[in-house]
């Protein structure tokens, strides 16, 4: 079932704080302390957010987030969340490529992981992909592998709402004008009854290209930064807002709404609430107080507008 047409708003907990990421300042992440490294603490923060209006979790698939999902599953609460995994976890793969000597080393390591996972479908697609050098088969291999990792941690009751391509993959494919890649990804993911998603730092460029390729934007999610100071809104805040206005249906899941902590929550929410075609938002929380305040505020302010 494709759930994109449901009227429910997506109020998502983001995972950046759990990976110790701050786009405002790396210095700040080092000062945060170790609480967030504890999966059980992170799981409690997510459940507190859910108690205050959140209904999903957007995360990069990593050992860290899988252990958080496992902790939520053990508490018997996984059914309260819609899951929005972002793949691949670019940081992990770039670091591996650095340590293993580039693409050939990385390919060797990844092939071994897929075979060790025992996921038959992934292995078959992987062989097809390598033999025929077919990028879509390789993407299918990868997505099947990540889905199996999520399900083995989150359990059978886990609801995967969307699988979102990481910005580095989306934006590379965009730069290379790979219409067949976008169409192939949408076709494959849609068949798994999950909404295909694209994370991008080039929202306006992506929307224009997808329209040029006559891709139905009501069948996908686009995850992109939107905030009142234009932080990471390329090429400009105005161009992104214009592209958003032109959408036929709510497709945007806004991220970086606080501009990485630069804005006050009230100011950030006021801006988002005034935008058209917003399907949802994702916000990272690092303290219980943030979880309560952020999602109460979002729930109240966005309820009427989404």
């Amino acid at each position: 079932m494709n759930r994109i047409h449901q009227s429910e708003k997506a109020l998502l907990v983001g995972d950046n704080p759990f990976h110790n990421i701050s786009h405002l300042s790396q210095e700040r992440t080092r000062a945060r302390g170790d609480n967030l490294a504890d999966s059980s603490y992170a799981a409690d923060l997510i459940l507190t957010s859910v108690a205050n209006g959140a209904n999903g979790f957007m995360f990069s698939v990593s050992e860290k987030t899988l252990s958080i999902l496992s902790a939520i599953n053990k508490k018997g609460e996984i059914g309260r969340l819609n899951l929005y995994p972002i793949v691949p976890y670019a940081y992990e793969y770039v670091k591996l490529a650095t340590q293993t000597g580039g693409i050939p080393g990385l390919a060797k390591r990844f092939s071994k992981q897929v075979v060790m996972s025992g996921n038959f479908r992934a292995v078959v697609n992987g062989i097809r992909g390598v033999v025929g050098m077919n990028p879509i088969s390789l993407v299918k291999t990868y997505v099947a592998y990540e889905m199996s990792r999520i399900k083995s941690s989150a359990g059978k009751r886990a609801k995967i709402e969307s699988i979102i391509l990481h910005e580095i993959v989306t934006d590379m494919a965009l730069a290379l004008n790979l219409e067949w890649f976008f169409k192939g990804y949408i076709d494959f993911v849609s068949k798994t009854k999950v909404v295909p998603g694209f994370n991008t730092c080039n929202f306006a460029y992506l929307v224009n290209k997808l329209e040029e390729w006559e891709i139905d934007l009501s069948d996908v999610f686009i995850v992109a930064p939107f905030n009142s100071v234009g932080f990471q809104m390329n090429p400009s805040r105005t161009a992104c807002e214009e592209a958003l206005k032109g959408l036929k249906k709510p497709t945007l899941i806004a991220i970086s709404i606080l501009a990485a902590g630069y804005l006050k929550p009230e100011e950030a929410v006021r801006y988002i609430a005034g935008l058209p075609n917003v399907k949802g938002v994702a916000v990272g929380v690092s303290k219980e107080k943030h979880a309560v305040e952020s999602f109460r505020l979002l729930n109240e302010a966005l309820d009427k507008n989404l």
Binding site: Q99, G102, A175, L176, L178, Q232, M233, N234, P235
Partner: protein, 332 residues
Amino acid sequence: MTDKLRIAVVGMGKMGIVHSCILNVIPDVELTALCEKSSLTRRILKKMFQNVTIVDDVTKMVDFNLDAVYVTTPILSHYGVIKAICKENVARNLFVEKTLVANPEEAKELCQLTSNSEGVNMVGYLRRFYVTFKKAKDLLLEEAVGRVSSFNAFAYSSDFLGLESDVTAARGGVLRDLGCHAVDLALWFFGDLKVYSAQPISENDKIDDSVNFKVKNQNGLDGEFSVSWRAEGYRMPEVGFLIVGSKGTIKVNDDKVELALQNGRKTAWYRHDLEDNVPFWLALPEYHREDDIFVKSVRNSVTVEPNFVSSSKVDEIISQVEKKAGEQNTPK
């Protein structure tokens, strides 16, 4: 030159892919060819880069009528690749990822070689294109902190924390891989510097992995560098400076700039305050800024910074650090 600049990229690792993608969206560029040794990578590239010729050797690009070539191979191969490009007249405009080469002798030879070609050349010291470091440079030009007397610089990452040294050897050592950014910025900020001491950060370290060193300039400016890719808490590589002047200090890193004056006035600028957006963002906004400046310089045949001559000074400083560390480790 034809209407669009014809550009090729040699070496399709991480940097090669990023530059190729960005060049593909710059309107007056035609990404013409890619050169890559690995046959597996070439097979993938053929699927991903449509209408681009893929070859396995730079000399096979001789007849491609190229305006410029990007060299993004491992550092140790830069010298051989650049020499081959110049010798075979593959293109006269060159961009090479940092560092220029692996030693000052090679750098000198390449500067000589390219000085005769009338082409534009540039080295990819990305941090010059961070809005925060650009702001710090502007503050120094305005003499916002008066006469600068000292600075402390760091370049840290956790990339190889807990890994054996043999894993890191192929990357040419932490100074060339990461520390070079801090050295390049220091040369940009303060002019010529000379190393007078260098040692590993701890007794168990090798200078290939972590090193402290001190520099001076002819006006008495003192500088200290600390460089490591085994630092804890640096999920992403980070470079920063604390600059002390007669009227105050400037603290700058990848994310923000802070100006603190002795009269008590303090000002901070984050990326958000410094017009960080670009026409196309891939991985970091700085890649687009860097490529855009190189392309415009080639188009207008004007020199650009950092070029081979200014970047050869980074290789000179690294060589001085290696020499000083060697002297200090030699039993007397």
